[in-house]
Symmetry: C3
Subunit: 312 residues, 3 copies
């Protein structure tokens, strides 16, 4: 593995999940692996879980970890051959090369603007670092993907699945704010590399980009989709066409007790943060069938597995 | 000790002071204690002394320390059973549980809004973390208490006292800004657990909440209060009734040389930051009888004693 | 060496350059030197390269590193004997003494306001910390100097020089923003302590303060200056008289291929960040004769040499 910004970077997804589970069992087993090496985590957007879990993952591998907030004051130019006389202080060519001079691994977080699909789906920040850095680049969530989340999700499914081929439903849910498609996109492309059966359910109009869903069954009836589900993975996203909007939705897509009871074996998943009683009810979140806190905890070991694979 | 958010958490105050003094003598003696454990410091409000001293304390115990500024962009919901469709992105239940998944100890700083006493005196941020975290929670100053400061203050008094039962005067002083009562509240409740004699002096109307002062003598004449004092602990606070205000004060409550000379043995204390020539004169602060820098230095060992006690 | 805020602090510049080159060859050789010691890095202004390289340098010496952003919310008072009833929350006397209680080394970054030369050229922030701290103070760039940059620059020249006395040209270049003179000032005073021949070229009116240039040859014709150059060090600065302004410049001072070819042996240097095609063309920056990324990388070892010298 040279970089970790999408599932295509991973040769053997199942082996990476197993590596993460091994690290969960013995978090400090490889604390010599990162000795005398530096992990730089660069946040162009805010982060809680990713920031804490990535720092912890780095420390458990013995890495020196340097975290930097680049959300204000460091505007990068991504266009080639431009005369830089505006507000962009540094070109990505220099930025990526300079940080590569200080880091053995670089983690980057960057969100989409949600105003222009073509622009966002180029995933320019992460791809430019990938292009110009001379060390491995890890996505800490980009404009269109969140692969460390998906790896943690797959770990959690692996830990809690009761059949060899569980039915996993990715369900859209309401949210008061406009959110990216990154988590849903990654979840789809990672699940399609697993043994699970993936079904996607969302209101008409909320179709994800087919580059990520690759022909996955879409069931527009949420209750129908939940039938026989082993895992219900809930997430809001804004529409792809038209891009970055909230569309009128008639039905109630919130997850509540009766919906969870359509399949009595179904376990609830969410990447967090979650809006209680908007996305899912208190009853769902406070039930033993909710795995959202276990997913969050697994973020540490997902990151650790990735850093370890890139260091090896 | 399960948590450290108020003096009531401490079974033996004197023993904790002695532990801090022992660590001051050998700061790295217990550097294996925190090995493979993580301290997360979460700042909902700015911090200088607390931030530096807590990080240093953690490092001296061998802890991995992760510091996070949560002052902007991470708005927590504290109400139960609410529909989270406003600006609050995450519920304290998830926030505290998730961080507990990454941390062995969680330090939290949070200030009061000073507009509603009932609201502030619930001390909701720190108490909610205490309720929902599954690991020990340490107050790095809350809406109504600053116990790490009080512990450092008591260490400093112990180091500099010349009699078994020193007279300690907590004196209000002027300040251009509205300040919380947290430092004064904690100082009172900690001193009442010590061998010292506590006297409080302030202008009429600046009475602290009796839950903290528990019937302590109030002497409204500052000069009278200073008579025979061993320590003069100076601090501004805004009024409790009416809440969070600056009341008209006729007399000059600033600490100057002549006031310090009312008791020639008196030593000056302040928790910092201090407004020179508003709270106390240059002459007082630059005199060898001023202990404020020693208090600041003791913050490291106070924090270290608390972290060590919670890890043991 | 007691502090490191200007070249005058360094007894033997050549020896310090050699020490940095030795550390570059074996970065972890002295990782016991900083054991049980703490480096506090305090940023009153933003930083990328300095922040990353100083943290890395500290970690490679085994120091505990605490980085603190003081750019907002911590306004210091520098005037003596003032009544502090404005927006300044803490006096430098307390601030420097308190941080000295937590740190074995203190790094400080602070920029000029560029509105009053007399004010900026006092270099008050760094000099006040120097005065009131009880531990060594390191400039991470001050209002008028950037000595860690100059040390890295001199390392880079040493590594790439082909003659015992290379001709080094410091050339002004255009920039859309008003920039300090700090990098140019330091570069001049450090080069004057080296074996190199220094020539300065800039448009008329952009003369640097003679306290830094000490009679160095100024050649107003840029192309003439570049004749036979071994190194061309490019940097924009705002004018000194009148202070902090952009003056009208007729000629094109940007560095391009033909200018670099005036001396076929000339190597290009810049401290970064650089505005492509404003300061220098893509062709210059993407050529093998450009050393700017090597300079950035050397920042780590320059900082490490300074920290090591101050610890010894």
């Amino acid at each position: 593995m040279k970089h970790f910004t999408c599932v295509q970077d991973v040769e053997d997804v199942e082996a990476l999940v197993q590596k993460a589970l091994t690290l969960k069992a013995s978090p400090w087993k490889y604390e010599q692996l990162g000795r005398h090496k530096t992990l730089v985590l660069l946040f162009f957007n805010p982060s809680l879980r990713t920031r804490l879990s990535s720092q912890k993952a780095g420390q458990q591998l013995g890495l020196s970890v340097i975290t930097m907030d680049a959300s204000s004051g460091w505007k990068l130019e991504f266009e080639d051959h431009i005369t830089m006389n505006t507000d962009k202080a540094e070109h990505i060519k220099e930025a990526a090369a300079v940080i590569s001079g200080y880091a053995d691994l670089i983690g980057i977080r960057s969100f989409p603007a949600l105003s222009d699909k073509a622009e966002d789906y180029q995933d320019r920040v992460i791809n430019s670092f990938r292009k110009y850095a001379s060390v491995p680049v890890i996505s800490l969530e980009s404009a269109i993907r969140h692969p460390l989340q998906s790896l943690a999700d797959l770990m959690t499914i692996t830990e809690h699945q009761k059949t060899a081929r569980p039915k996993v439903v990715l369900s859209w849910a309401p949210h008061p704010k406009l959110l990216p498609q990154a988590v849903a996109n990654s979840f789809a492309e990672w699940l399609l590399r697993s043994n699970a059966e993936l079904v996607i359910t969302h209101p008409k109009g909320y179709e994800l980009d087919p580059a990520f869903t690759q022909g996955t069954t879409i069931e527009y009836d949420q209750k129908e989709a939940f039938s026989n589900a082993d895992f219900i993975y809930v997430k809001n996203w804004s529409s792809v066409h038209p891009y970055g909007q909230q569309l009128p939705v008639q039905e109630d897509w919130r997850i509540d007790g009766p919906k969870m009871n359509i399949s009595s074996k179904a376990q609830f998943m969410h990447c967090l943060p979650i809006r209680r009683n908007v996305v899912a009810t208190d009853k769902v979140l406070d039930s033993p069938r909710a795995l959202h806190l276990k997913q969050a905890k697994n973020r540490t070991f997902a990151a650790q597995a990735v850093f370890a694979a890139l260091l090896e």
